[in-house]
């Protein structure tokens, strides 16, 4: 990790915060129109315990939802990748399901499983994030060049050997590409549930309480905290990608 790799994004963030501060200052906006970065430290220091507790609640439920999305998405993707019939059958269903705004599903789920707040939140995070994974895995598997199968099949290899030795590793770069999209989607799902469903858990609930108490800097502080968690999780995925699919990255020559 070179100095440049760390410095460049940090400088970009500082510039972003400066521009934000400048925008608020130049317009003379009070914090109930738009809070400025200088309002945030106060909000964090006042509610730091809540940020830790609720940030953790948001984080673990997002991760569990994401793990479920990976398991289910890979399964559906495998089914669609290997069987043309299943692909033709499932694609319209999946696309239709994905087109439904999840905000409309939240009250349905909340009514369906009243009180099961953790479960509901995980469910929404899962529902919103499995689609890109399923699509990428199915495309990765179905576009495997026939020669790749043939080099093993001509030696008498079984379908499962071909899957483990060739199809699965070859799909990993697409899978990680989709996982990067899914990570941020899962956060959106978790927060949707936390904001809409009145259980007082997670950063979404903290945002909501900021709203009811007219604590505008708190609302912005929550948004920044969410962005921070999103960045952390995203780079966890990037690190995993480097380990498992680092070969797909071309060396600059």
């Amino acid at each position: 990790m070179s100095f440049r790799k760390v410095a460049v994004p940090l400088v970009a963030m500082v510039i972003f915060l400066a521009l934000w501060e400048l925008l608020v200052w130049a317009n003379g906006w009070p914090n109930y129109i738009m809070a400025s970065p200088s309002d945030l430290p106060a909000a964090y220091s006042r509610f730091w315990e809540l940020f830790l507790v609720m940030g953790w609640q948001t984080l673990w439920r997002t991760v569990v939802g994401l793990l479920l999305a990976i398991a289910f998405g890979v399964l559906i993707g495998m089914i669609m990748g290997f069987s043309r019939t299943m692909r033709d059958a499932l694609y319209p269903l999946l696309v239709g399901f994905n087109a439904i705004p999840k905000a409309t599903v939240v009250p349905i789920v909340a009514l369906l499983f009243v009180g099961a707040h953790d479960f509901n939140t995980i469910l929404i995070a899962f529902m919103i994030s499995f689609f890109p994974i399923a699509v990428s895995v199915s495309i990765g598997l179905s576009t495997l060049e026939p020669e790749y199968r043939d080099i093993l099949r001509s030696l008498g290899a079984s379908q499962s050997t071909i899957f483990w030795k060739i199809a699965l590793p070859k799909t990993l770069p697409e899978f990680f590409g989709a996982l990067k999209v899914a990570v941020t989607l899962a956060f959106i799902g978790t927060n949707l549930m936390e904001i809409v469903s009145p259980h007082g858990r997670g950063l979404g609930a903290l945002f909501d309480s900021g709203k009811t108490n007219s604590d505008y800097p708190l609302m912005f502080a929550v948004l920044i905290a969410l962005a921070f968690l999103g960045i952390v999780l995203y780079y966890v995925v990037v690190a995993l990608e480097k380990v498992f699919a680092g070969w797909a990255e071309r060396q600059p020559t």
């Binding site: 060049e145 020669e147 790749y148 043939d150 080099i151 093993l152 099949r153 001509s154 030696l155 008498g156 290899a157 050997t161 030795k165 060739i166 590793p169 070859k170 990993l172 699919a245 070969w247 797909a248 071309r250 060396q251």
Partner: protein, 266 residues
């Protein structure tokens, strides 16, 4: 020829398409003796690749039989090695691990150490010494094809099937690989079928050239190439070579339907 290692007897095959059956091979007969190397040439889309898949047992012919070493081919067998125009190396493996891939599928009496030694030896034979631990993406197209050839030979197959392996390479690299093939064959004798579009390649590498007719393909013309030792590229510029190329080119034109067949010419 009772001693044929590869014997293709009266093979006819058609693909099912929406417009009805599309015949690609029609009563095709080819036989290759042990140690022989037959080049199959013919117009595009005449079913040459279908032929390789039939020999490899990846497909079954509608009628007719394919025999390898006195056994009828009904399914893939580990005594076959294949290389395609696309080298299909696995990007996540090093060159050495790519070459050793078939040994993970077929059972071999070689110990792990012997396997690796053999892979290194083959790589050295094709001029890839020093590239064992590189990734395929770090190699040029010609080098990848060399590695692919090593992979097709690693498990000591009885039969080597080459489906236009040099088709995507530039002319100089291709000629270089032709010589590599002769070096390989001298050290690792194999019986082979080479599908190609390149007539010079066919007479340089093979000891028999089979010209297929247009679709549905059948054997249209067979030319034997006498072999004495390993040829050099200069041998391609002799009057004999020019005569052979002329004959083959004329046969291809007939196969394409651009020149009338001898009988019809009258």
């Amino acid at each position: 020829m009772g001693e044929a290692l590869i014997d293709i007897k009266g093979v006819t095959h058609a693909y099912a398409t929406e417009a009805g059956p599309l015949p690609v091979l029609d009563n095709l007969n080819i036989s290759v003796p042990e140690g022989g190397f037959v080049a199959v040439v013919g117009p595009s889309g005449c079913g040459k690749s279908t032929l390789t898949r039939l020999i490899a047992g990846l497909m079954k012919p509608d009628t007719g039989e394919v025999w390898l070493h006195g056994e009828r081919v009904k399914s893939p067998r580990s005594t076959v090695g294949m290389a395609f125009q696309n080298p299909v190396l696995l990007e996540w493996r090093t060159i050495l691990k790519n070459v050793m891939l078939p040994l993970e599928i077929v059972s071999t009496p070689m110990s792990k150490r012997e396997q690796e030694e053999r892979a290194r030896h083959l790589l050295e034979l094709v001029g890839l010494k020093g590239f064992e631990d590189k990734r395929p993406s770090e190699l040029s197209g010609g080098m990848r094809q060399r590695a692919s050839l090593c992979r097709s030979l690693i498990h000591k197959p009885e039969v080597l099937i080459l489906d236009e392996p040099f088709g995507a390479l530039d002319a100089f690299t291709r000629e270089d690989l032709w010589q590599t093939m002769h070096r390989l064959k001298a050290e690792e004798p194999f019986t082979g079928v080479l599908i190609t579009h390149d007539l010079r390649e066919s007479i340089f590498l093979a000891d028999q050239v089979v010209v297929l007719s247009g679709r549905p393909a059948t054997t249209q013309y067979v030319m034997d190439i006498p072999r004495e030792g390993i040829p050099t590229l200069d041998d391609l510029y002799t009057p004999e070579a020019a005569d052979r190329l002329n004959i083959l080119r004329h046969q291809i034109e007939i196969a394409q339907g651009r020149a009338p067949a001898e009988e019809a010419a009258e």
